[in-house]
């Protein structure tokens, strides 16, 4: 990956940032109505600052009938009343900025809710002013190569509208019609939407479902050149009016295709690296580094100033679609043979439950997340090892209220229990009496305190971890994953033991002979590097970050 030397250029803050994904509904209830809101989130900014988060990512907070968790927007210019109003949003952004925290929000460009006034108008007839704002057709046969994404609920990308007597196009749910980006008015209006929110102070957007903006004959309707052109136009206009903002693209594609969304550094600033996440889990399960090193080897370099977003968990489930699109691929074969991994596909689990609540594994996974190339994205609650409730169904299992204290409703809300949008976890292992922010803040050896310290360490070297080059260091022991992060002459060596057993590591560090490895957490100097192999012993799931200090 390319190094970036203009670190004074603060427009690139996102390369040195730690992101924190927040479900407004589930974080903190400021007005006692049982649902989290923007005012509640503002109240908890001190906690987020203490944790060491640089940028909040808010899941959709727009007006919505909430048939798809708010990704079905019915008014781009107003806030869902349960979350507050525009003034609350402005207050949140101002208070966050006062603490040095940026705020980005989800934005769905591809489609709207069918309740959106634009669609209501469009469906009236084929002559009204918004008639061409959506994609209409007399038959449902066009673009047969575009796959159906939600195969469990949708049978076609076309749905009949009785009112207009035509079919409308939708890549996701049938209540989410796709906007017609071939219409210049739609393009301009969506750019206006972006400007509106940047004007009130938002620092950027996580752009949902970007590969699908356009449709063309004889294509699968993904990653089309027209889509890239529009994103480039958006970037150019925003750069001119609002410099220093970020677009984080959700393009759930293979890394070689995803890099197109960076353009030549003139499209999206960041993209999620989807295949890395399941491979981190597979590497631990196999006690081998190959699942990780293979995908890193297949990850192309990205334009100067761009950045990957990497994560362990988020609000969506782990699906095989994210893992692989080639049936001869490594992960496909591994998954096919592994009943346990197969079981976890399609079920939203939190990190703690995925790793059987093993503190050492959680630490190692976060150690990897904080040291592999990219900006880490944390999911709210994972910092205290929250669990999930798979009986809530769909994706609600990982969207239960943040557990602040052992008090009523987990300290999340003063409402009656029955009024809560979802019940907090109450089981003996992950329930809020055992697992909450207050208790872990008081306990110096808690997971929360550990995460906070690691984020401090990362922050002290954020040029290296955020923007440094990445190079895997060969090791004969397959359970050992060692790599360098290098920025200029500053080098950090990360050595990870992916096995539950203690492991030896013999590393060829000859080219750094004369330097002394200093372990970053405790500043303990290790034996000076010589010409011979550097020998380390790693405890069960142990890892070290060494700064290689020139004498």
């Amino acid at each position: 990956m390319v190094e970036d030397h203009d670190h004074d250029h603060d427009d690139r803050w996102y390369r040195r940032s730690v992101f924190y994904e927040v479900l407004v509904r589930g974080f903190f209830d400021g007005n006692g109505d049982g649902t989290g809101d923007l005012a509640g989130l503002t109240e908890k900014l001190d906690y987020i600052q203490w944790l060491g988060v640089d940028c909040l990512w808010l899941l959709p907070f727009y007006q919505s009938p909430l048939r798809d968790g708010g990704y079905d927007i019915s008014d781009f210019f107003s806030i869902l009343p349960e979350y507050g109003d525009l003034a609350d949003a402005v207050e949140l952004v101002e208070q966050a900025h006062r603490r040095g925290i940026k705020v980005i929000a989800d934005l769905v460009m591809n489609h709207t809710s069918d309740q959106h006034p634009w669609f209501q108008e469009s469906r009236q007839d084929s002559t009204n002013p918004k008639a061409d704002w959506y994609v209409w057709s007399d038959d449902d046969q066009r673009w047969p190569d575009a796959r159906v994404i939600f195969v469990d609920t949708e049978r076609s990308n076309w749905t009949w509208d009785a009112q207009r007597q035509q079919y409308f196009w939708h890549r996701f749910f049938s209540h989410q019609p796709d906007l017609n980006y071939d219409n210049p008015d739609v393009q301009q209006t969506m750019i206006d939407v972006v400007r509106f929110w940047l004007d009130i102070g938002l620092d950027g957007f996580r752009l949902d479902a970007v590969p699908y903006l356009f449709e063309r004959d004889a294509t699968n309707g993904e990653n089309l050149p027209e889509t890239h052109e529009f994103l480039k136009r958006l970037r150019k206009e925003v750069d001119a009016s609002h410099p220093g903002k970020v677009f984080l693209a959700e393009a759930n594609q293979w890394p070689a295709d995803v890099v197109d969304y960076f353009g030549d550094g003139d499209e999206c600033h960041m993209c999620f690296h989807f295949p890395l996440m399941p491979r981190m889990f597979m590497a631990l399960r196999r006690e081998q580094r190959y699942p990780i090193t293979e995908i890193m080897a297949q990850t192309p370099s990205i334009p100067d100033g761009s950045q990957w977003g990497i994560f362990l968990r988020n609000h969506d489930e782990l699906t095989l679609e994210m893992v692989s699109d080639e049936d001869r691929d490594y992960m496909y074969a591994e998954y096919a043979k592994d009943p346990r991994m197969k079981r976890n596909i399609g079920i939203g689990r939190r990190l703690a439950t995925l790793v059987d609540n093993d503190r050492r594994v959680s630490e190692l996974l976060h150690g990897l997340l904080f040291s592999l190339p990219g900006s880490p994205v944390l999911y709210y609650g994972d910092e205290i090892g929250m669990g999930d409730n798979i009986y809530l169904g769909d994706r609600d299992g990982v969207r239960t209220p943040m557990q602040w204290s052992p008090d009523r409703n987990a300290g999340f809300s003063r409402a009656d229990f029955a009024q809560l949008y979802l019940p907090p976890l109450m089981d003996p292992v992950y329930g809020y009496e055992a697992c909450n922010v207050e208790a872990q803040t008081r306990n110096p050896s808690s997971f929360l305190q550990w995460i906070q310290r690691m984020l401090q360490i990362r922050k002290s070297r954020n040029e290296i971890f955020g923007t440094g080059s990445f190079e895997v260091l060969p090791a004969e022991n397959p359970s050992v994953l060692a790599f360098f992060r290098q920025y200029g002459d500053d080098i950090v060596l990360c050595v990870n033991n992916l096995s539950r057993f203690a492991q030896p590591a013999e590393l060829q560090l000859g080219r750094f002979a004369g330097r002394t490895p200093v372990e970053l957490a405790g500043r303990v100097p290790f034996r000076r590097i010589g010409e011979g192999p550097f020998v380390l012993t790693l405890g069960s799931y142990g890892f070290y970050w060494f700064e290689l200090v020139q004498d």
């Binding site: 081998q288 004969e476 022991n477 397959p478 096995s499 000859g510 080219r511």
Partner: protein, 450 residues
Amino acid sequence: MAIDGIATDALLPLLSEFLPCQRWYRGVDAPAALNLLHSNIERAGWPALVDLIVDADGEVYQVLVGLRPSDERPEFLRGHDEASLGEIDTSSGAAHAYEATLDPELGSTLLDRLTSGSEHAERVRTIAAEQSNTSLVYDDRLILKLFRRLHAGVNPEIEVTEALARVGFQHIAAPVASSQWGDYSLGVLQPYLAGGVEGWALALTSLRDLFGVQDTQPVPLVTEDGPPPAADPGQAGGDFSAEAERLGAMTAQLHIALAEAFGTEPGDSGAWADQVAAQVSAAPIPDNIERDAIDRVVNEMRNVSDSGPATRVHGDYHLGQVMRTDEGWYILDFEGEPDRSVDDRRRTTSPLRDVAGMLRSFHYASLVALADSDEIGLVAAWEERNRRAFLDGYIPAAENAGMLSGDGASVERLLRGFELEKAAYELNYEEGHRPDWARIPKAALRRLTR
């Protein structure tokens, strides 16, 4: 004989002492007859490099001697007393003679000379773990394998890897350069598979994980009847079977590529059965193995309805000869079993011979991992699962390409015969070298004759 003022003859008496201390020397004592066949000197100031090819009691060796002034005691020789030959006089004064492959400067000289200066390296390190070779690794990018004990005729490693590269087989480190003296191959330069891990180490990682799962399964506080059920290797995290299947598929590709490069002949199960019988009769078969059962395996092999084709094979195929890298599996070391003659190693045979070698290796791994534990059922389940996965990867691909008889019963009988042959060979070897491990081929013989 003196070149550039260095009397190479003067090195011969020093060699008599030096040779018996080297891993690659076949004898035990100093050679009774030592003759210099060839010498060459590279000298542009110190250090100097002297290439020698010597005949010691009928075996031919490549010796590389470095020379530095006697008052220099370079760091790289510290702790390597066996690498010193002693002092000799040169026209430039007294010099210390030593094993040249330890000297990074001379390592660079070797690379420079072999590639006519087209390759350079900043760092050189020596690997001397192998029995009959010495390897130099350059910048973790290239590896120069120097053959120490020489055999007349082209070295199979060079011959086979070059041929496989020509037909486009990807899973080898194709030679970059090689050197030859007369009939003898001296060395080969190949890409270094940095970060590669031997299949053997990966298989043991998988087995270790399986034991770990067994140890960490929740134990019921009240046991009703019998112990808790054994862990299923398919459920264990470190499952190897997807790798085993990939290995099998790659092995089929190897045989297809070998056939393309060297051609095929009709197989001769009778001749193969004779070889198996010969190997068995040379092995110290324990008394509790029935001779009749052995004969039955050999005869079933002899009388198969379809032998399938014969082709060149790897010849010494096991988990230690395959390497997992980030780009997938690679096959190493096409030299064949070092104790066999070059002609013998180049003979065509059934590709199932390699398959049997790998299957025997799975058995070895499982029993080595078992050590003194009593979880025999667990490791047997691991072996069975990976054996099946390997064959699932191999057989359909090999059969489709005509590398294997389409008759399943014939394949099974041939494979059994070759496994018997391999186990007998192993028993011979283990009794001579590692008596503690003889239990492994003995267990295999019992199983094959059951």
